[in-house]
């Protein structure tokens, strides 16, 4: 066994002892970048490489991180200052859905109402008439005798739908505007659309009150 050549793969001989390996490398750590007045090339090269990598990293992060925003999934995007806009609400879609779920219980899907009890909306002069009146009806409700298209109604009161005291619905201004727009443009009605701002203005002005009566509404323009 002892006459194996140094490169015999069956028994590889050590090139150095462990102790000297440790101490030699410890001495290596004491080397300075300059030996005898001449700078060693390698530390300088590595320093430049490292700095170059940091520069690259910083530039790349700056461009493609999307400012670390949780909603940016495309690295080419930059977050704008504005909030992420929600999908635009289509008032007719929203209005129709709400009408069908809630209003049609009384006013029926075809807008005809129930004779003597619930006034119709199709062709109604109230529905396509003054926005001020119709917004108030929806916000605070309507009670007492009512004449629509020459016929008398008044047995049932219309509840308040707005965000007012005593309301069981608490619809926000967007939703009220949407439903009113739908009603004014459905079944052959040719009324103007109503905006949420109009509703908000009247809501602020009137705040909470009990149901309107026909006379009070007729007093409005």
């Amino acid at each position: 066994m002892s006459d194996q050549s140094p490169v015999d793969p069956r028994l590889q001989q050590p090139g150095a002892s462990d102790e000297s390996l440790l101490s030699a490398h410890e001495k290596e750590l004491g080397r300075k970048p300059n030996d005898g007045g001449h700078y060693r090339l390698l530390p300088l090269v590595l320093l430049f490489v490292f700095s170059g990598l940091i520069f690259y990293a910083g530039t790349y992060l700056n461009h493609y991180s999307g400012r670390y925003n949780a909603s940016i999934f495309n690295e080419n995007a930059h977050p704008s200052g504005a909030k992420v806009a929600a999908a635009k609400i289509d008032p007719l879609v929203l209005g129709k859905r709400n009408y069908e779920q809630v209003c049609s219980t009384c006013h029926q899907l075809n807008g005809q109402g129930v004779a003597g009890i619930y006034p119709p909306l199709a062709g109604s002069e109230w529905a396509v008439g003054s926005p001020d009146r119709v917004i108030r009806i929806l916000l605070h409700g309507l009670k007492g005798p009512l004449t629509v298209e020459g016929k008398e109604y008044g047995q049932a009161a219309m509840p308040a739908f707005g965000q007012v005291a005593g309301s069981g619905y608490n619809w926000n201004d967007d939703r009220i505007a949407a439903v009113l727009t739908y009603v004014r443009q459905e079944w052959g009605n040719k009324g103007e659309a109503i905006t949420a701002e109009q509703v908000a203005a009247i809501h602020t002005k009137e705040s909470s009150r009990k149901e309107w009566s026909q006379d009070e509404l007729k007093a409005l323009p």
Binding site: P9, Q13, P14, E19, H25, E28, Y60, S65
Partner: protein
């Protein structure tokens, strides 16, 4: 205590049984995982192969093969070499070796139960964490039992000075339990919500490579290159910077496989930047370990291949992380090729080099046959190169076919098929080489030593520093 005149001492004698147990386990797991990999590749070529048995359906077989390789071979081989290095450089016999033996037995038991569990359907679908939840804590505890020996060898070392090989080995042993337990908590026991699971899984996957597997390989390389060549590491003053770069930057590459994925873009951007920053570590490693190249020692031949694979893999990682490249190579065989380059190329070849060097020292016995060693080397060299090469080509072909919306999956698999055939053949060659290795190892450990340790090895020379 290793004095300047003796290559082996009671440090090696003391550790003989635990290290032999670990290496024997490692080699058996290597062969098992290799066989499972051949079966898995065969299923790519012939999908109905073994498909009627739910134990060996493609997905589960893939999980079993990966688990056997990483938790079987990588873990135990890494333990063996790390403990041996820490013992020798620590200067005194390893303590708590009974814990190491108990830990090894329970680790092997845990992996075995885990593999059966995966076959039965209890596995998770998380990459590198496929083990069923009931064995993961067992593995965590067993890891601790084995690792404690290594950590004690560092804290109780004889010399105040420490060497790069020790830093890497201790880092691997100390950091993996944190990675493993954090991943278990976030993914298995208290799963986090939605794609955060993917982020946590990516962090664990990259952390396992940069903070556990790569340090184990580098520890062995940093020890053996100066040890065998007799020369100091050339730019040793940068080794420390390179070490910390790997550890600090490595964990940030977690989002590497989430480019274009359902996570905020900054996660992938940080990962890409970190992969590029890591090229500094790979460059310094190449400079420091270039002493492995051009030598006639068989261990250094293995290690040279491993270092080359490691450095090339590192630069390839940075290149494929780029979004423009990722667009084509993501989700293809290229990622598999990169994993193979890292695990089979870098880690495995360096471990082979280390094992061929250390076994005579713990067994007091030379390897019986030089031609078996050289045969294993040729098989491993050709097999690994062919495997990685054919998978890279397969991946590029697949990537280009995926990018073209007109190409159907039937055409895609036809184009990729010849390359997968080559990959299967090279995997078979690797397994053949490893079987030869196993038989050879068995012969060494069962043979009775005929000469005493002192007469087996020559006097190790004293290493000179490059400046006095």
């Amino acid at each position: 205590m290793t004095t300047a005149s003796n290559e082996v001492s009671e440090i090696d004698a003391n550790a003989r049984f635990p290290l032999s147990l670990l290496i024997a386990s490692a080699i058996l797991w290597l062969i098992l995982s290799g066989v499972l990999a051949i079966l898995n590749f065969a299923q790519n070529l012939s999908p109905s192969f073994l498909a009627d048995c739910s134990w060996f359906t493609y997905g589960r077989l893939h999980a079993m093969q990966e688990t056997a390789f990483i938790y079987g071979w990588v873990a135990t081989a890494g333990f063996a070499v790390a403990l041996w290095i820490l013992g020798r450089l620590g200067g005194s016999p390893l303590r708590s070796l009974n814990w190491t033996v108990v830990g090894t037995i329970f680790w092997n038991l845990g992996v075995t139960i885990g593999l059966i569990g995966i076959a039965l359907g209890d596995g998770t679908s998380i990459s590198l964490l496929h083990l069923p939840d009931y064995v993961q804590p067992l593995l965590l505890v067993s890891f601790g039992a084995i690792a404690v020996t290594g950590v004690l060898a560092w804290t109780g070392r004889q010399h105040r000075a420490t060497f790069a090989a020790q830093w890497y080995a201790v880092a691997a042993l100390f950091l993996f339990p944190w990675l493993f337990s954090a991943a278990q908590a976030m993914l298995v026991w208290f799963p986090v919500r939605g794609t955060l699971q993917a982020v946590a899984a990516g962090w664990f996957l990259q952390g396992a490579w940069t903070l556990w597997i790569a340090p184990l390989a580098l520890s062995a390389a940093y020890y053996l290159v100066p040890k065998i060549s007799g020369r100091v590491i050339p730019a040793y003053d940068f080794a420390s910077l390179s070490f910390w770069t790997l550890l600090v930057v490595g964990g940030w590459t977690g989002g590497r496989h989430l480019v274009g994925g359902p996570v905020p873009a900054w996660i992938a951007t940080i990962a890409i930047v970190s992969c590029v920053m890591l090229t500094f570590h790979y460059a310094v490693t190449a400079i420091n370990l270039r002493g492995a190249f051009g030598k006639s020692s068989i261990s250094l031949k293995f290690i040279a291949y491993g270092v080359l694979a490691y450095v090339v893999g590192g630069f390839a990682d940075a290149a494929t992380a780029m979004r423009s490249v990722s667009e084509v190579t993501q989700f293809t065989w290229v990622s598999v090729a990169q994993t193979q380059l890292a695990n089979s190329g870098a880690f495995t070849m360096i471990m082979f080099g280390a094992i061929y060097f250390l076994v005579p020292r713990i067994a007091n016995q030379a390897w019986p046959s030089a031609s078996l060693i050289r045969g294993h080397y040729i098989a491993a060299l050709i097999g690994t190169t062919l495997l990685v090469g054919s998978l890279v080509v397969a991946g590029i072909v697949q990537g280009r076919d995926l990018a073209n919306p007109a190409t159907s999956f039937a055409d895609l698999s036809a184009h990729v098929r010849p390359w997968l055939l080559a990959a299967t053949a090279s995997q078979a060659l690797l397994v053949l080489g490893n079987i030869v290795f196993a038989i050879h190892f068995a012969r060494v450990v069962v043979a009775k030593p005929t000469v005493t340790a002192e007469n087996l090895f020559s006097q190790p020379p004293v290493m000179e520093a490059s400046v006095s």
